[in-house]
């Protein structure tokens, strides 16, 4: 996966994307026991086009130019199916802005904070998100005050209560 992250860093350096961070099951795996997943969810902030539109097209074109191919909803980058998810709401933009900078072996990358992964799972609300919240509560060292602020800002306290009591 290190090579995959190097490609993403290269895309960020070349301006094809403004910023990226690992989320989803692999983001959660950074904080908890390994969780089975088949794709790497990458949240991205895209540079604005001249028309003001935010589109994944330049990103996909940049990857195709580097020889990578599409695989369903994903791009296969160095053997890993990567799903790009634009930060499309306030919670995701905040999560991207406050993502943690970490090293994967020798390669710098960014992972969403555990508190934001929790909030995103609450907002998304599927069965597997409920399981993710349970795991994060149990194994990640959540900053309770920070989490409470995130939940309040994004009106997720009710869902948190419903899922955790």
């Amino acid at each position: 996966m290190e090579k995959t992250l190097q490609v993403l860093n290269d895309l960020a350096r070349s301006g094809v994307l403004s910023r990226y961070a690992i989320g989803g099951a692999m983001g959660a795996t950074f904080y908890v026991e390994p969780v089975l997943t088949f794709d790497l969810d990458i949240f991205v902030i895209l540079p604005q086009t001249v028309s003001g539109l935010l589109t994944l097209k330049p990103l996909y074109e940049g990857l195709r130019a580097r020889g990578y191919t599409e695989e369903g909803e994903c791009m296969n980058i160095e053997g890993v199916p990567v799903q790009f998810l634009p930060a499309h709401n306030d919670l995701l933009v905040e999560a991207m802005t406050e993502a943690r900078e970490v090293l994967y072996e020798q390669t710098p990358t960014r992972v969403l904070r555990a508190e934001h992964l929790t909030a995103i799972a609450l907002q998304t609300g599927r069965d597997k998100d409920r399981e993710r919240v349970r795991l994060l509560r149990e194994q990640a060292e959540l900053d309770r005050d920070y989490l409470a602020n995130v939940l309040t800002r994004h009106s997720l306290e009710g869902k948190w209560k419903a899922w955790t009591t």
């Binding site: 290190e2 795996t29 950074f30 390994p34 969780v35 369903g72 053997g79 992972v111």
Partner: protein, 69 residues
Amino acid sequence: MEGMDNLKPEIERLITAKEQRRHKLAALSFAEKVRLVVKLQQMAVPVLRARGRAVRVWAIDDLKLVVPK
């Protein structure tokens, strides 16, 4: 019922050990966890494919595995 009572400490010991292992796994480095995710994929793919899901194991080369005891 007495037999069940005798089993209880053993079950509790097993549950505690399992819990400790999960916390050990959670404390591994990110790269080690990714290697374990790929091992999970290798185990799950045949079952999921048999159910018709189009999944595959990541073709990454950083797979030297260090699994905690």
